[in-house]
Symmetry: C2
Subunit: 624 residues, 2 copies
């Protein structure tokens, strides 16, 4: 039984102020307070309220919506706000371990206030800080304390001007000089300048710089992370040999100072190497617990999953905000009506409902997915921290990598399209800056690009699935993964034989129906992609060509459908738990079915085509 908020807890979830939305709110078939409690839990609601109350009461966080803030002023304000967030110390390390979901919740609250603030905080702590913590060793612990006191301010410098997606082509070098026991960090030319680095533009004092490690008389050992001081913390002037600057105005997130840096033979102590994956002895010998360069590289970039999961949750925040704005507007804006005298709320139009309500359902489904994936990630990181080198731990890493690599694209695109739809659905009012939809869209946009371009990332997920099928076909292995997201594929031959015999619209309102269709679709796409890939290879294409030729028509829809299925599955299970309050079951079930059917409907052409090709005639037409 969920706790209630009646009586003493009114302060936690106070009534909304009276206004034009009252009429709609009175018509709700459920208690919004009960839903909030079920979705968040009381402890989390309190945590969020603490954060929002602090921001509401602090003049540093006051702002005028749609204000015309200069770039410099905005960046300065955002830095001061970021610093203040540390001072508030909303989340202790103990709390973080006890309630790990409070980490994304804090980031989401900051994102609700301003994406630039969330990004600045996240980049310093969870990206820079985590990189130092997870790639470094005991000798780097001194940095951690300075990070949390903001004595130093950090950034994560991987991408270069000419290389982002293809990290293996990154060209910054780190040569070890045994004479002085230093590394020499160097950018060979401007195309190898570090680029797009968040926090680097104006404020970072330190950077985790990825560079190719060379020791004397030896081959290159590949990319390694180094902690490099780039500015004097007192004056913010660049350190000798470092050319660092701000990249200027962006489409959004202008509170965040993205920067570039070139290193001209910058000498850093040997201890600057974050040495968990590999180290250099004072004499200049390279040593590593990992034998294989590829494996080392994989582990050193493993932290990217955590970035993608954070982005996923920030995309969900943007979608939530936009859909709330658009639905509230639609419930109060009246235009046309059955007679000239009587106008109706635009929310009453089927067109407006079709445009907006699926995104409301998507916000719920993706929000749940983002939380559950974060908890999976925590499990992975705990295993990592405790030195777990089991096969399961490795499998878990691969599975989470596959889920995050398609989850970030799905969430960021859904948010991008949803915000655009909300903007248009609010007509001219949606185009006014003070109504925030533009900022949400612009701030969400880079979610489609950073930590891996969406289209490029999807290939990681389709490759994961194709690898499992190859393993099954060639070695008779089972489809099994620690989180069980691929287990259903084990039955793919029988799933592909299934027919759908749904005869009424009412039956489709159970998300189990869409789930079954999704399973069929993913099995079908996986098999087709596998066959197409092999056919490409047989006809003489290299692996590289074959993959490229399959991605548009096969790999991409496979990865997206698989992830949608996973989101639908997890949300379906969530809303059908026995602990769901009876009064919420109907509305949650409808949200689940709506998201599932809406997502599935975008594959309708594929379903029809598959039916023709494979002679699967049982699927009845469900549309109107």
């Amino acid at each position: 039984m969920a706790p209630t908020v009646e009586g003493g807890d009114a302060a936690l979830l106070p009534e909304f102020p009276r206004g034009p939305l009252d009429a709609y709110r009175a018509r709700a078939s459920f208690s919004w307070k009960e839903l909030a409690l079920f979705t968040e839990g009381e402890d989390m609601l309190r945590f969020k309220k603490t954060i929002f109350s602090a921001l509401e009461n602090d003049p540093l966080f006051a702002r005028s919506p749609g204000a015309d803030l200069s770039l410099d002023k905005y960046r300065e304000l955002n830095f001061l706000r970021c610093k203040r967030i540390f001072e508030y110390d909303f989340l202790s390390v103990e709390d973080m371990f006890k309630s790990p979901l409070k980490v994304p919740a804090l980031i989401q609250c900051l994102g609700m206030y301003d994406s630039s603030l969330a990004a600045k905080y996240l980049l310093h702590t969870l990206v820079f800080g985590s990189a130092v913590y997870s790639s470094g060793s005991e000798r780097h612990l001194t940095y951690i304390q300075k990070i949390f006191s903001m004595e130093i301010f950090g950034c994560f410098a991987l991408t270069e001007l000419s290389h982002g997606s293809n990290t293996k082509a990154i060209r910054t070098t780190a040569h070890y000089d045994p004479a002085t026991k230093e590394f020499i960090i160097h950018s060979p030319d401007f195309e190898a300048a570090k680029f797009w680095v968040g926090n680097m533009g104006k404020t970072a004092t330190h950077a985790v710089v990825f560079a190719k490690l060379h020791v004397p008389g030896d081959q290159c050992h590949g990319l390694h992370p180094f902690i490099v001081q780039i500015r004097d913390p007192k004056t913010l002037l660049p350190m000798p040999g470092v050319m660092v600057g701000d990249m200027g105005k962006k489409l959004g997130q202008n509170g965040l100072d993205n920067g570039f840096a070139m290193f001209h033979k910058v000498r850093v102590p040997r201890q600057s190497l974050l040495n968990r994956m590999g180290d250099v002895t004072p004499e200049g010998t390279y040593v590593s617990p990992f034998k294989d360069v590829r494996q080392r590289f994989g582990v050193s970039l493993g932290g990217l999953s955590s970035g993608r999961v954070s982005i996923l949750s920030l995309a969900v925040v943007n979608l939530k905000l936009a859909i709330a704005i658009a639905l509230r507007f639609s419930a109060t804006r009246r235009q046309f009506g059955p007679t000239q005298e009587e106008e109706i709320a635009v929310l009453e139009y089927p067109m407006q409902q079709c445009r907006l309500l699926p995104y409301l359902a998507a916000a719920y489904a993706l929000d749940h997915f983002s939380k559950s994936l974060f908890l999976d990630l925590v499990e992975l990181q705990r295993g990592h921290a405790s030195g777990d080198r089991s096969a399961r731990q490795a499998e878990l890493g691969r599975e989470i990598h596959a889920l995050a690599s398609a989850g970030k694209p799905l969430a960021s695109w859904t948010a991008q399209q949803g915000i655009q739809e909300c903007r248009e659905a609010c007509g001219g009012h949606g185009y006014l800056a003070m109504n925030r939809l533009g900022v949400l869209r612009d701030d969400n946009d880079p979610n489609c690009t950073y930590e891996g371009d969406n289209n490029v990332l999807l290939q990681q997920t389709s490759n994961y699935l194709l690898g499992l099928l190859a393993h099954r076909v060639q070695d008779g292995a089972c489809f099994r993964s620690p989180l069980k997201s691929v287990d259903f594929l084990d039955a793919y031959p029988s799933i592909l034989d299934q027919k759908f015999e749904v005869s009424s619209v009412a039956d489709c309102l159970d998300s189990a129906v869409a789930l079954a269709a999704y399973k069929w679709l993913v099995c079908y796409l996986l098999q087709e992609t596998y066959q197409k890939l092999n056919q490409e290879k047989r006809s003489g294409s290299s692996d590289f060509e074959a993959r490229n030729n399959c991605q548009v028509s096969h790999g991409r829809p496979l990865a997206l459908a698989f992830l949608e299925l996973t989101v639908v599955q997890r949300f379906h299970e969530h809303v059908h738990q026995p602990c769901v309050p009876p009064s919420l079951r109907a509305v949650l079930g409808r949200l689940s079915a709506l998201y599932a059917l809406w997502s599935l409907s975008r594959h309708a052409a594929l379903l029809y085509r598959a039916e023709r090709r494979r002679g699967c005639p049982g699927r009845r037409d469900r549309s109107s």
Copy 2:
């Protein structure tokens, strides 16, 4: 035979500067100069070159891409630039009549430089000026000269805070006072404030204000346009009784000052009524050449088609700019490759091609459509000016209204989606303000909303088609329209019996194949929509409900498919003219086929479903 530009005309189309695009340019299968000449014609190329050269050489038009300009500074600059455009006097009235396409060409050139400038110029001349010219009479000619000398600066005030789409619900009043021979313009409350009016925020001295006309002891005669002075031209201070202001920051087009105004019993002379549709005698009697209020209202808003056609052409400009930026980037950006040593241009990836090339084709097809529709509009306006009240003229007005009402949505959405795809396809670099994709997206965005929300407008087109079918079913009338865009529907029963027997991908590379499929699709959708509408009505829905219940699933796809068909048809005919230079036929044919197939493919689910429902089994599967 098209003229050539070799030799003496090198100055008109000079070679591109040498650079990283040379390799791709050298591989072209056609001469870009020949294509430019065929697409534009030599006279137009010269005209555009004159404009661009003037802007390039005038320091007032110098700018830093991605600069952080304050709102006030940007609005001031944009006003000064607009004034300078008048001083350049690029287009004389004689030229305008001789080569009407130079009007949209001028607007497009300004739009290529900056959407805010194009909008500001367009609103003053073609919207405010045209309204005065076409709704006024001889007594208003004095304004026209002042418009072109910028002695006065104008805006068009129709929309109110609470009503945009539903113009009939507009509530500003104009009561005639025979004692002083004045109209009293009045805003009853803030919800009736004029809102979103471009140029009104800071700079307009005069407004065409739409208000409900009342004469003493008589009923309301509906909306009429009045020319009202809102500011002193010397000081720009508001006139007595006028509360006018700027709406603040928008998502884009921030060089344009959108404003609001409330009128507190503002008295204007009787002659301020733009009296072509109706007039008031000095004594206060209402007189009109139109008997019917609806007809009068229709004619007085007829000018909206011209606004929509202008928006269509500006959306095409945005798409052209974005696709050029993204394709050039993709041809020079290298990432990954068949080996670690060799990276290939991202344009070589099938994924990048599938993302971008359809938008290149769309830019060509829609550009042609926008020009041809503009010429149709010129024909309509000439008939209007010469007092043509024939049935053909009325039919032409309705047909152009239907084409513009779906053409604006199609073009603005294609541009919106295309620019977003270009932004993402350029990765992080696409997110940098100086690379302009953000500005293009933000400036294009209102094209989806103003002069009619896209989704609302599409209903105009579907209603037009449904009305023709009803006329055919009920009265046995033929499908015939002056521009012949609906004539094919006359054969709808036999078209619906047709089967598609295309057996190879190669066959589909002729846009005639997609055209035939489109004709079938439009006939199918029209019939289904008609049946669904009648079924709704038979089951007791009011007209209002029935239309709303049909729009999402039927009316909307019907309107879009009809317009896509028209665009494909016109471009198909254009590129298959005998005058097309032989060396361009292949590339133009491919562009035509690509746009047609890509557009059609978005209706694939509908085609499959229709096939199942109607037993039209001949359509073979064309996708790989």
